[in-house]
């Protein structure tokens, strides 16, 4: 039994490692085809990051992590929430508008703004949930549509609520009051850099912990995973699948609502038309790479942040566009899902062979022991 578990752990790790290796090979092939300097590119990408860059990696990973957890909540339930992208933009906008008013003092403002973000993310995801439960509309299609609608809706509302900044034609919400900003965590003790890690990295940790606790340690989480694995079995054991779908969509949306919060409270202090987009799709990739596991997602998010950060120097160091990192990330996702599928099937085959061997051995052995006993 022990040996089998080791083998399974090996199989589990084999896929991501394989994917990274494949991504390395494919990217090298692309670089060779495009006649770009292979050595210089990898030299830059695999360089040890400076302390300042390390902080940036963690900051980027914080945001990616929350996004991936939001996606993963859906995945565990067999729901494909492609709409994290739209949900976090709607939620960030709502939270920025609310917090910018400064109706509440200091930390209270921050906490209520976080709740506003969760609620608006949940509402936006809830539309897709209701459509699925009530009308049988696939959440994949409805969330794709809702992403686009969110883009237009937010830009319309931003136009309505924007404040004019002197000497700039960027539109944005009102800037947060100084007492509602979350201070960064200084890492002076460990790294020699003045730059700070987002204070809301704590939020990411909390989200990860709650995700793990609710899914693995509560009855609700068990029902959710059961429904994701086998809907018929869940129905048979008394799970209300429709309510489950709606609830997990709302939870996924609420988590998605938090994606933009570290940026809002730790860096931008406002929501403008220059706000980072596409975090939701990165979240899908990271959740896939991390196999929906809270720790796995953390490593995947760090990898994404690391690649983002290292790519910044590509243009200068190797004369290659930093867009290359998008290629690398894309290849990693694609090869990781292929690798998981191949490994899963290899695992099944090994299991079948083991059982067959045991059965064959059992048939041969059984009469002998019987005879010996008699």
């Amino acid at each position: 039994m022990k040996r089998l578990d080791w083998r399974r752990a090996g199989l589990g790790l084999a896929a991501p490692v394989l994917a990274v290796v494949v991504a390395f090979v494919v990217t090298t092939a692309i670089l060779l085809l495009a006649q770009d300097p292979v050595g210089a590119v990898w030299g830059q990408l695999l360089k040890v990051p400076l302390p300042r860059q390390l902080v940036a990696v963690f900051n980027a990973a914080t945001v990616y992590y929350i996004s991936a957890v939001a996606v993963a909540i859906g995945f565990r339930m067999n729901l494909f929430n492609i709409g994290v992208d739209g949900q976090y933009r709607v939620a960030s906008f709502a939270a920025a508008v609310f917090a910018g008013q400064g109706w509440l003092p200091g930390w209270l403002n921050i906490i209520v703004a976080l709740l506003v973000a969760m609620a608006s993310g949940a509402v936006w995801a809830g539309i897709a949930g209701l459509l699925k439960v009530g009308r049988g509309v696939s959440e994949v299609i409805s969330t794709i549509m809702l992403n686009a609608i969110a883009t237009y809706l937010v830009s319309f509302l931003l136009g309505k609520t924007a404040v004019k900044v002197q000497g700039s034609n960027a539109t944005s919400t009102k800037s947060l009051p100084a007492d509602s900003r979350v201070p960064g965590i200084s890492v002076d003790g460990m790294l020699a850099t003045p730059s700070k890690v987002y204070g809301l990295i704590v939020l990411a940790a909390v989200v990860g912990f709650v995700y793990w606790f609710v899914l693995e340690k509560t009855r609700f989480g068990f029902d959710l995973r059961a429904t994701g694995r086998s809907e018929t079995a869940a129905v048979a054991s008394g799970v209300n699948v429709k309510r489950m779908v709606l609830t997990s969509m709302l939870l996924s949306g609420a988590a998605a609502g938090l994606v933009g919060m570290p940026l809002l409270f730790g860096q931008d202090y406002l929501y403008g038309d220059t706000v980072q987009s596409g975090l939701g799709f990165a979240g899908i990739a990271i959740a896939l790479l991390g196999r929906n596991h809270p720790i796995g997602i953390a490593f995947a998010a760090l990898l994404w942040g690391y690649l983002d950060q290292q790519s910044n120097g590509l243009q200068i160091a190797a004369g290659v566009s930093d867009r290359l990192v998008l290629v690398i990330q894309g290849v990693i996702v694609l090869s990781v899902v292929i690798a998981y599928e191949l490994v899963r099937r290899a695992g099944i085959r090994m299991e079948q062979r083991r059982v067959a061997r045991q059965l064959a051995a059992g048939d041969a052995v059984a009469p002998v022991t019987e005879g010996a006993a008699v």
């Binding site: 994949v140 319309f156 990192v325 990330q329």
Partner: protein, 426 residues
């Protein structure tokens, strides 16, 4: 991972013993089109929004409908064979680069081939992942969207930087494809259209948009649509391909090489999506620009669903979405406002009919419809134009509404999105 997610649309299967309806007769659609023109021309005269069906707006609508329609055709080929393809967007982006690169060096005709080639390459990756390995279709599609975006923008920086008029995110201007006109009709129609007479001007505008300055690629796209319909619904090859999307195991027992058909369908799908990208580069604008596809791959997917996985419906969806796109680009907030009037009145009438028809049943749907109709009418009366953002939203909202209110009438291929493994029949 979520193989069952796309199969939950309720299906209306014909009861045994009842004749299978083959859709409505052709004159029904002619009548619909006729009533449509009547309504539009009446609205135009009432509201004075002359751009509602001007030849310029309609020509722009036709041109903008093509990439959407081609992307939708890509979706149709693949989904009819049972492979969900949300990677259309990525394949389309690859097509934009292919069209621009080959179009710049070898002329626009080779550019078309280049766009198709790059799209097919994207399709090949999707086919490898979904058909050969058996990865979840949505997962693979998402990955291809990421990959396509990355590869195209990397290649664009690599190939267009330093060319005259080009840059990291933009290609040099490209040579245009030729356009065709029916000779000798343009002048007369223009003056008729300029008169703004009820009905006459509208028909003249429509005719002019359909007969003058049609791009060759537009004609090719329409031929591809008709060809797709013919091949998929009127040939043994098409029947086999669709059987792979409806019941792959049954098809396998009849000797159809399901894997081969699926592979071919996804490759064709990629080619169509690539051509859609090529259209954007070679016809809609005359250069590659990063982000120019603007989510049209997803709109194509929406058009296909809107059109109930059928070529005719897909064409209708593409024209409708192309039209809203055109109106938005022409700054036609007043045109969209003009449409609120017939839409509002129509919804109120429809809701009233629903209420009258099922007096005993639950009145919820009817009430919702009436309320929405009243809201639309009120919006028409209280505003002078609809903000551009709402115009841009229209295709997506329309698709959501169709999914929400007509999902009983939609019928996707039965085995769409299901991972098929050879030899698992029975």
């Amino acid at each position: 991972m979520s193989t069952s997610t796309l199969q939950e649309t309720p299906r209306d299967e014909p009861l045994p013993g009842r004749p299978v309806s083959r859709g409505r007769p052709w004159w029904f659609w002619v009548a619909v089109a006729g009533v449509g023109v009547l309504v539009v021309s009446t609205v135009r005269v009432i509201t004075g929004a002359n751009d509602i069906d001007s030849a310029g707006a309609l020509a722009a609508a036709v041109a903008l409908a093509m990439p959407i329609g081609l992307a939708g055709l890509g979706g149709l080929w693949s989904e009819r064979a049972g492979v969900v393809n949300i990677g259309l967007q990525g394949m389309m982006i690859l097509g934009t680069w292919g069209g621009a690169f080959f179009g710049y060096y070898y002329g626009p005709w080779v550019g078309i081939l280049g766009a198709i080639l790059l799209g097919v390459a994207g399709g090949a990756v999707h086919a490898l992942a979904t058909v050969i390995v058996g990865v979840d279709h949505i997962v693979s599609g998402v990955a291809i969207n990421l990959l396509g975006t990355g590869v195209a923008s990397y290649l664009a920086v690599r190939t267009f930087t330093g060319l005259p008029g080009g840059g990291p995110t933009q290609s040099p201007p490209l040579e245009k494809l030729p356009t065709l006109s029916v000779p000798g009709v343009g002048g007369g129609l223009t003056s008729l259209e300029g008169s703004h007479t009820w009905l006459v001007a509208d028909l003249a505008g429509i005719l002019k948009a359909l007969t003058t300055d049609l791009n060759v690629l537009t004609i090719i796209a329409v031929l591809l649509l008709v060809g797709t319909w013919y091949v998929l619904w009127r040939t043994p090859f098409g029947l086999r391909l669709r059987s792979c999307g409806e019941a792959p195991e049954a098809a396998e027992t009849l000797g159809v090489d399901v894997v081969r058909y699926k592979l071919l369908a996804v490759l064709i799908s990629g080619g169509m999506a690539g051509l859609a990208g090529g259209f954007l580069v070679l016809v809609a604008s005359n250069l590659y620009r990063e982000g120019q596809e603007g989510g049209r791959g997803f709109i194509g997917l929406a058009a296909m669903i809107f059109g109930n996985w059928r070529p005719g419906g897909l064409a209708g969806g593409a024209v409708l979405f192309g039209y809203t796109d055109a109106i938005q680009l022409r700054g036609g907030g007043d045109v969209i406002r003009a449409f609120l009037l017939p839409v509002g009145i129509g919804l109120v009438l429809w809701g009233a009919w629903q209420l009258w028809r099922r007096r005993q049943g639950k009145p919820v749907t009817g009430v919702v419809t009436v309320v929405m109709g009243l809201l639309a009418t009120a919006w028409f009366l209280l505003s002078s134009r609809v903000p551009d953002e709402f115009t841009g939203m229209t295709p997506y909202v329309a698709t959501l509404l169709v999914l929400a209110f007509a999902s009983q009438r939609l019928r996707m291929p039965a085995a769409d999105g299901r991972v098929y493994r050879k030899g698992e029949a029975g």
